[in-house]
Symmetry: C2
Subunit: 471 residues, 2 copies
């Protein structure tokens, strides 16, 4: 789907009776004001689509269930909305319908410190959760760049910089409360660390992008704050060397907590945006967690490996403040890069490949991007084999978008050929539906569709996402 504007034609009108029923049930918590609808009709994707017909500000699972029931009675689509930070068009009301804003569901319901778990409402953000955990000695590990809600992170199977050590939402969600397409409420999973009790509904809903149910509560794993933390920056002569270094770190089984690549373009952008003076060349931003002795040992091993690949002596961020500054800059890379080309938008790729294929995957990508002449930057959770290229395009110039998409096409096809995936953490949304079919194959996609049909026979849960309309 290369077109930036989604045809109005897809959007079904919402029956006035449905809007009236929602207004009656929700009063001031239901809005059809254009500004509110427009705010809920976009995300961080480069697509434009008509806004939803209304927005329900839900405060409880019961609110969500009631809203879904009312919409289901009129065959009206529902789309859950959190921080609005999805990147592949997951939030767009391309078939019309109602946006369910879950940001008022922002309570941390329970911190079971003795079990290393927390149960939160879907609208809690990752920074909020870690803020509330500050005095427990525990932390929640998953950090996509944005301050996303845990509901949104569940829906897209998010990961981020810590996943190389602590896993993604797939590994860190223990249990869910989910509103089904008919408004019934189920609980999946338990608070035990493992279970063999029936089908793994938890992991079915994780990553389903709101198309199988609406997640309203999430129980996640927490980790003890490591006794010692050390962050280091290591610069490399070129991207290839930094990638080779990463591959060797992973193959050696070093339990590195974060291993992030920024290319020279990304470094230049964050230097400007965050007033840093990092050497303008590719770097790995790394973090080590453990006991002081273990952190020292890990860092020494990695420094040795890095040196063999032309890496610089580590530049250390020793205090929590310095570390925070560095990681904030890393998380600002996307925004920083956007600011280097005023008015631009980013077409952002998200492939993930087996670690041994990362070098050829990235090196070929760099060569193609350089040859194409479009401004770009690369950041990557390279320890996972996952990296993002952001092609900066002028939205007024369709040829730039086309060029970016053709680069992305090549990149994704290469990732699939190397045994990888078209999306490591952003999801399918509107943008990768064709790639999903290529990756999974027709028959596996049929299985996904059969599940969708079984759980949402009327197709009201975030319709038009994951699956291409013609399928």
């Amino acid at each position: 789907m290369n077109a930036p504007t989604i045809a109005q034609a897809l959007s079904r009108p919402t029956p006035p009776a449905c809007l009236e029923a929602l207004a009656t049930r929700f009063g001031a918590a239901f809005s059809t004001a254009l500004a509110v609808r427009q705010q809920h009709g976009r995300d961080e994707s480069p697509f434009d689509a008509p806004p939803p017909a209304g927005v329900v500000f839900c405060s409880s699972t019961q609110d969500v269930a009631d809203a879904v029931k009312l919409c289901a009675a009129h065959d009206v689509p529902v789309i859950a909305y959190g921080a609005g930070s999805s990147l592949e068009g997951q939030l767009l009301a391309i078939h019309g319908g109602i946006s369910l804003d879950l940001t008022r569901m922002n309570r941390v319901l329970r911190v079971a410190a003795e079990d290393l778990t927390a149960t939160v409402q879907a609208g809690v953000t990752r920074l909020q959760l870690n803020d509330e955990l500050r005095h427990t000695g525990l932390f929640f590990s998953i950090d996509p760049g944005a301050d996303a809600t845990l509901g949104g992170m569940t829906a897209t199977r998010a990961s981020g910089t810590n996943a190389v050590r602590y896993g993604t939402m797939r590994e860190n969600v223990l249990a869910l409360t989910v509103v089904l397409a008919d408004g019934r409420v189920i609980r999946t999973g338990t608070h035990a660390r493992k279970s063999s009790a029936g089908y793994d509904l938890t992991r079915l809903f994780v990553g389903s992008e709101g198309t199988l149910g609406i997640v309203t509560e999430i129980t996640v794993r927490l980790y003890p704050q490591p006794e010692a933390v050390a962050a280091a920056v290591c610069s490399f002569p070129d991207v290839a060397s930094s990638v080779d270094c990463t591959i060797q770190i992973i193959q050696a089984g070093i339990p590195i907590a974060r291993c992030e690549l920024m290319d020279a373009n990304a470094v230049r952008a964050v230097n400007a945006h965050d007033h840093l003076d990092l050497p303008v060349q590719p770097l790995l931003l790394m973090e080590f967690h453990g006991s002081p002795a273990s952190v020292r040992e890990q860092a020494e091993s990695v420094q040795t490996i890095a040196a063999e690949h032309g890496g610089s002596r580590f530049s250390w961020a020793d205090t929590p403040e310095e570390r925070t500054r560095l990681w904030k800059a890393r998380h600002h890379a996307y925004l920083s890069a956007l600011q280097t080309k005023p008015g631009c938008r980013s077409v952002t790729t998200d492939t993930c490949v087996p670690i041994s294929r990362l070098a050829e995957s990235i090196n070929d990508t760099v060569a193609e991007a350089d040859a194409a002449g479009l401004p770009y930057f690369i950041v990557g959770h390279v320890g996972d084999g996952n990296f993002h290229v952001g092609y900066l395009i002028d939205p007024a110039k369709p040829e730039e978008r086309e060029l970016a998409e053709s680069l992305n096409d090549k990149l994704v096809r290469r990732a699939l050929a190397l045994g990888g995936t078209c999306t490591g953490e952003h999801g399918i949304g509107l943008h990768k539906q064709g790639f999903l079919r290529e990756e999974a194959g027709d028959d596996a996609l049929d299985v996904m569709r059969a599940i969708k049909q079984a759980l949402d026979p009327r197709g009201i849960l975030n319709p038009g996402k994951i699956f291409a309309p013609s399928e």
Copy 2:
């Protein structure tokens, strides 16, 4: 389901035309000999059921697909068979049909050492895989007691002693080849470490006990063999102290690789069976993995915690041979215990609870078992909150089975009340169908059933398992 004998009445006769078609397609690889059928008509569960009508010895995914297609054409059930070590009746042909023996699918297809993955056929056993990995510096971590096949371990979402550090099959399966109910073959997942591409079919098939598809190939994660390994035995004055010690180890975030409980009865049994002289009192059998310094550090921390709970000085197994002997003994606990009461069978429980509730869960269980007077033993992957009680019953005395089942009922209900699960790693099979409904709730079970119906509309894939017949 307390009755040990499954009514013949459930079993549908297999149409002769189906048997003829299988004989034509598979020749000598299809058997209807009674001895072969009987061997494939039982597992390690205490149930008796009529054997399947025939057995196909499959050598390839294509064989499985062809067998499924032929059976589907006649609405004949198919049940995949590996090592025959399932504990909850998963392999029993209670609705008749054909057993698909996958043990000839015993090839390790690919070891991608540089990606820390291996792809195997479903009939490869865990010991075989580790044997073939011996010279790669890598290992496959999951070890249920039996030398199960990876197909069976996938089907039951198996775990074992290493799961506390390395996770279960849920976390360690990257990709699958699956034969669907109509004989189509799909591939799920990729060889990348993470993905957000569509529904997580991999995890849907993991733990589905052969009811959604037949897994024929599995790609699993491998881990570098740790630089240093140390195993230690620590004896405790009572079970409660050992459990309190475990809880504190986990809460401290110590990355212990194995943390296994054996009660005095289990110790007595393995001493006799494996000619050991472990002190006949509850013990923790622990293993530490890492660099030499990290192993030393972990062990010191745990020794300190253990001492606070009355634990003995560690008795170390320093050489690989000593460690192997100790872990073999641990894995023999089940067989060893059976030998303490000749002719007995074991009713084995499998609850898993949040770690903070493990003490009350086990202590109440011990009190009830002692009061009941039935011989029993306890072994547990206590670092996960998972433990097994084996009640040793005389199969000729229905009252002993009834007593064991009533103890299990209490145990499971307590686990559910504590936020746990009725099965940590054995699965539902025939035995825990009622408990699954209690644990998941009617509506979540409906969702599971809807998925089953969508993927297997004619109900030929291991029918009668996971879901109770009346549901």
